[in-house]
């Protein structure tokens, strides 16, 4: 049988030691009424060669369209070393590093990861990952509500520039604990700072600001941060970590800096992979660390006084504090953190900055190429690395036409932002060449002409 080492002799010998007549007999505590004979619907097992052929065919069937979608997941180049190292058996097949002495590789790596994420976000401490950006955002809100002892409010203020899926996931997770998300409106694609006055004095535990916003626009983060702090709120920065090589770190927003940062780690070396596994990151000021969910690694000393690494501050966690834990998270996205740490080491600050700048420049080229077409205009700016285009007609049929030509033209905003009209969110990462952009523009031009 696949993966089972027992010979017939092994089985017979072991049963004899146990004093059982058969393997089935070992299940004699299962009441007969519950016992089943097997799972015939599962069919016959496939050999590795058979499943390989099946999967090769299926992967090939999906084609490799040219992708101009961003909207929270980005097609960046991932150096070969990243996954060749991350999938080494010693990383890939280890458990959570509970036995510290036998897990120094993973533990030191997480310590390095925490250091890098703290540095990128300009905050003091980081945890060892959340499931993804959306749940990291929800946990950041829960954390802020717990941490803001002054306000004790169960409302968190956010903006319409926040990712709609982050909002949806967080709403669900917060609702269980009776916490509400309130949304600031947009004006010209950016959070309407004019609306702040009306909310002053309103009781919120925190303000969450996404920079750049889901629509690619740059927010007035300094003004928003200072306003929120003046209201006694904590500030949560939601950021694409790659862009933090270019954009101001949340820890430096306004005069005091954000208190918590979180976001989707996928741009740091994680393949698109249909949406996962990715990882969420979460960093905060030192003072909030005991409200942090998830695992944290610390450096300490061994009995000989040599440095080593271990899971620490575990009293926050479910396996110790149980129903009073900061979160229920246990298994996180460890291997993605491994990849991201290697990715950041290879790229360095300068490499990340260049990638981010190239994404921005490519998106600018794309916007120029597409807005040169009749009926296509830029909705608003300034944008960074993604932009909203406005069309003179519905976007869906155009996207279908592009898809048929092997081009994924962007993310249709009509469901989430109906107020924007026929709007499309586009993105050209550093991996899209000038030729790719021309191919998009050419195909779109002919679609527009045909269906004019």
């Amino acid at each position: 049988m696949p993966f089972i080492p027992h010979t017939e002799e092994d089985v017979a010998g072991m049963l004899a030691v146990i004093g059982a007549g058969s393997i089935d007999e070992l299940f004699d505590e299962i009441p007969a009424s519950l016992a089943i004979a097997g799972l015939p619907a599962m069919g016959a097992g496939l050999s590795e060669a058979q499943i390989t052929r099946l999967m090769l065919d299926r992967a090939a069937a999906d084609g490799r369209p040219l992708c101009f979608i961003g909207a929270g997941a980005y097609d960046h180049y991932i150096p070969a070393a990243v996954w060749e190292l991350a999938t080494r058996g010693e990383f890939y097949s280890a458990y959570t590093p509970y036995q510290a002495e036998a897990s120094q590789g993973t533990l030191q790596l997480i310590y390095e990861f925490q250091s890098m994420m703290a540095g990128l976000t300009g905050l003091d401490v980081a945890n060892a990952s959340m499931y993804d950006g959306a749940t990291a955002f929800a946990e950041a809100c829960l954390m802020a509500v717990r941490a803001n002892r002054k306000s004790r409010s169960r409302r968190v203020l956010t903006t319409r520039a926040l990712s709609p899926v982050f909002r949806a996931v967080a709403c669900g997770m917060l609702a269980g604990q009776g916490i509400e998300l309130v949304e600031l409106p947009l004006a010209a694609g950016r959070t309407d700072t004019g609306a702040l006055a009306g909310l002053s004095g309103g009781d919120f535990a925190a303000l969450a600001i996404q920079q750049p916003g889901f629509l690619g626009t740059l927010e007035a983060v300094d003004e928003l941060t200072d306003w929120a702090h003046a209201q006694g709120m904590l500030v949560i920065g939601v950021c694409n970590p790659l862009l933090l090589a270019l954009l101001e770190a949340p820890g430096s927003w306004g005069s005091a800096g954000a208190d918590i940062a979180c976001g989707e780690g996928q741009p740091l070396g994680i393949p698109l992979s249909s949406g996962g596994p990715y990882f969420g990151y979460l960093t905060c000021r030192q003072a909030l660390v005991r409200q942090m969910p998830g695992r944290i690694v610390g450096r300490t000393l061994d009995v000989d006084g040599r440095p080593g690494f271990t899971l620490t501050l575990q009293a926050r966690e479910q396996h110790i504090r149980r129903s009073r834990a900061t979160s229920n998270i246990c298994t996180n996205q460890g291997l993605m953190v491994t990849a991201a740490t290697i990715f950041m080491s290879l790229l360095g600050a300068e490499g990340l900055r260049r990638v981010a700048a190239q994404c921005h420049a490519n998106t600018r080229s794309l916007v120029q190429a597409l807005t040169a077409l009749p009926g296509v205009s830029l909705a608003f700016g300034p944008y960074c690395h993604e932009a909203v285009l406005r069309f003179d007609r519905p976007v869906a049929p155009l996207l279908a036409g592009l898809s048929a030509a092997g081009i994924l033209g962007g993310h249709d905003l009509s469901a989430d932002y109906p107020e924007l009209g026929h709007a499309l969110l586009v993105c050209a990462t550093e991996t899209r060449s000038a030729d790719d952009i021309q191919a998009y523009a050419r195909t779109l031009a002919s679609l527009l002409a045909h269906r004019a």
């Binding site: 519950l34 036998a102 540095g119 604990q177 450096r299 998270i329 600050a349 921005h360």
Partner: protein, 492 residues
């Protein structure tokens, strides 16, 4: 093994691995200067060789399935087939954007659809959602569905989730996340849930119970039918924590035991890697009652093609649990594994996992170790209690764990479940050979004998690891959580 510095110690200002970024800095036209970062983030500046060498060396400091027997109870550390890794990482799968149209995803969706069907089969449930990203999120989904069901019926008084004292910490923590109160009930001397206490605990405030069967005590809850009747009778629902499904695969179905909803840790039973802490997948399955509340998206069929079903088609859903659709790459690995096993292979998983556990248990009993539940069959795992040895020699379960590392074995789970003193929860899994189990028994006997001869020597363990025993108290009292540009101030 020489110690490996922190990556920042390899860094030098201006050092680069330049093939990984564009050759020049692009023009930042259009970006307002005020939004730009004033000083670069303090990331390491290292060469590609330094990165490769550093992380290769770090990896070698780990124990893992690929290098060591890893009998960590409740974790199902079995062999992770390399084929699953390779096939999930085919460029076609890795390159697919989550918002890509379904016509560019039929191959991928076919795998997921078939995975859903197989998971219905192994649980006996009628519906499955693959979206939860780990066991705890699967629990969250399950409890949120229970809540949605009560609420949909207008039954808003149910604010308690019952949890046995043996439960994994995620169970009570999840109940809290969902806004429930937790009521703990005790285990009886034979390792079963105390049904009298349960009867006393249920009532009109009971939303449901969270249970795993076999329990984390390594025994099968025999009166599960009666237990289910008590909870259902009180108007509550039953949630099955499927972290231990490896024990009953193809032997019994959570649905027929009376459970309404179940999560499965694919990273345990279906052998996706643990990755040093994740990612996993905690798919959730439900019976007809709870199926409408399953989280979205779910893969369905529309006009003969695979399609994502979302809130539109599933208005009673508890909604989304992740930005996209969950840990797709992990789901593909589980799919490959399940297809390779087939019906016969799956049943052998539970059979041989149970054979290994019972063999280990019987032999350890024979060697004089105390079992937590000596009169019971082991499921796929079982508990040894070292209370007696600890009292006699002062050598604790923790000491045994560290001494095992020196002998080339990862330690079993220690001090969990909390109700058994000085316990080792031992789960060998089906992929280990009899010889490996025999060597493990020899090691435990060796440590026990050494404890009697020279307890101090056991307490010195580990001696062959990259570090010796670490000071956890210092770690928590003086948190050193990020690199501040210098070696540990107190290091020798």
């Amino acid at each position: 093994m020489l110690p490996e510095p922190v990556i920042f110690e390899h860094s030098r200002p201006g050092r680069r691995a330049p093939s990984h970024a564009p050759a020049a800095m692009a023009d930042l036209a259009g970006l307002p200067a005020a939004a730009l970062r004033r000083s670069p983030p303090p990331l390491p500046e290292v060469s590609e060789l330094q990165v490769v060498r550093h992380y290769t060396r770090l990896s070698q400091l780990n124990f893992s399935i690929d290098t060591h027997f890893y009998p960590l109870g409740s974790c199902t550390m079995k062999y992770n087939p390399r084929a699953a890794n390779r096939l999930a990482m085919l460029p076609g799968f890795l390159g697919r954007h989550p918002l890509g149209p379904e016509e560019h995803g039929q191959g991928f969706l076919a795998c997921l659809y078939e995975l859903q069907e197989m998971l219905k089969g192994v649980t006996g449930m009628t519906g499955v959602s693959l979206t939860p990203m780990a066991g705890a999120q699967g629990e969250y989904a399950g409890v949120a569905m229970i809540r949605a069901w009560h609420e949909a019926r207008g039954d808003t008084a149910r604010r308690v989730i019952i949890v046995p004292d043996a439960a994994h910490g995620t169970n009570p923590a999840t109940a809290t996340m969902c806004g429930y109160e937790v009521r703990e009930i005790p285990t009886d001397a034979r390792g079963d849930v105390d049904l009298e206490a349960l009867r006393a605990a249920v009532g009109p405030d009971t939303a449901g119970i969270m249970l795993t069967n076999p329990s984390t005590l390594g025994v099968f809850e025999r009166r599960i039918g009666e237990l289910a009747a008590i909870v259902h009778g009180a108007g509550g629902l039953l949630y099955y924590d499927g972290a231990n499904l490896n024990a009953i695969l193809g032997r019994a179905l959570p649905a027929t035991m009376g459970f309404d909803v179940v999560h499965i840790n694919l990273h345990k039973t279906f052998s996706t890697p643990h990755g040093g802490g994740g990612p996993g997948a905690g798919v959730v399955a439900a019976n007809a009652r709870l199926e409408p509340h399953l989280p979205v998206p779910i893969v369905g069929l529309r006009d003969g093609r695979y399609a994502w079903l979302t809130r539109q088609e599933r208005p009673a859903s508890i909604g989304r649990l992740s930005a996209f659709m969950g840990n797709a790459g992990i789901l593909l690995r589980a799919y490959v594994y399940m297809r390779m096993l087939g019906a016969e292979g799956m049943r052998r998983v539970s059979g041989h996992a149970t054979l290994n556990a019972n063999y280990l248990m019987v032999r350890l009993r024979g060697a004089g170790f105390d079992l937590a539940f000596p009169q019971r069959r082991a499921s796929h795992e079982f508990i040894v209690t070292l209370k007696g040895i600890a009292r006699e020699t002062g050598v604790t379960a923790m000491d045994f764990a560290k001494a095992l590392l020196d002998r080339g074995f990862h330690a079993p789970t220690t001090y969990f479940p909390l109700l058994v003193p000085e316990c080792l929860l031992i789960e060998p899994t089906e992929t280990e050979s009899r010889e490996e189990l025999d060597r493990f028994i020899d090691a435990l006997v060796d440590i026990r004998d050494l404890a009697r001869r020279n307890a101090a020597e056991v307490k010195e363990a580990p001696r062959t690891m990259p570090v010796r025993r670490l000071d956890d108290v210092r770690a928590a009292r003086e948190p050193d959580l990020t690199w501040q540009g210098r070696p540990h101030p107190a290091a020798r």
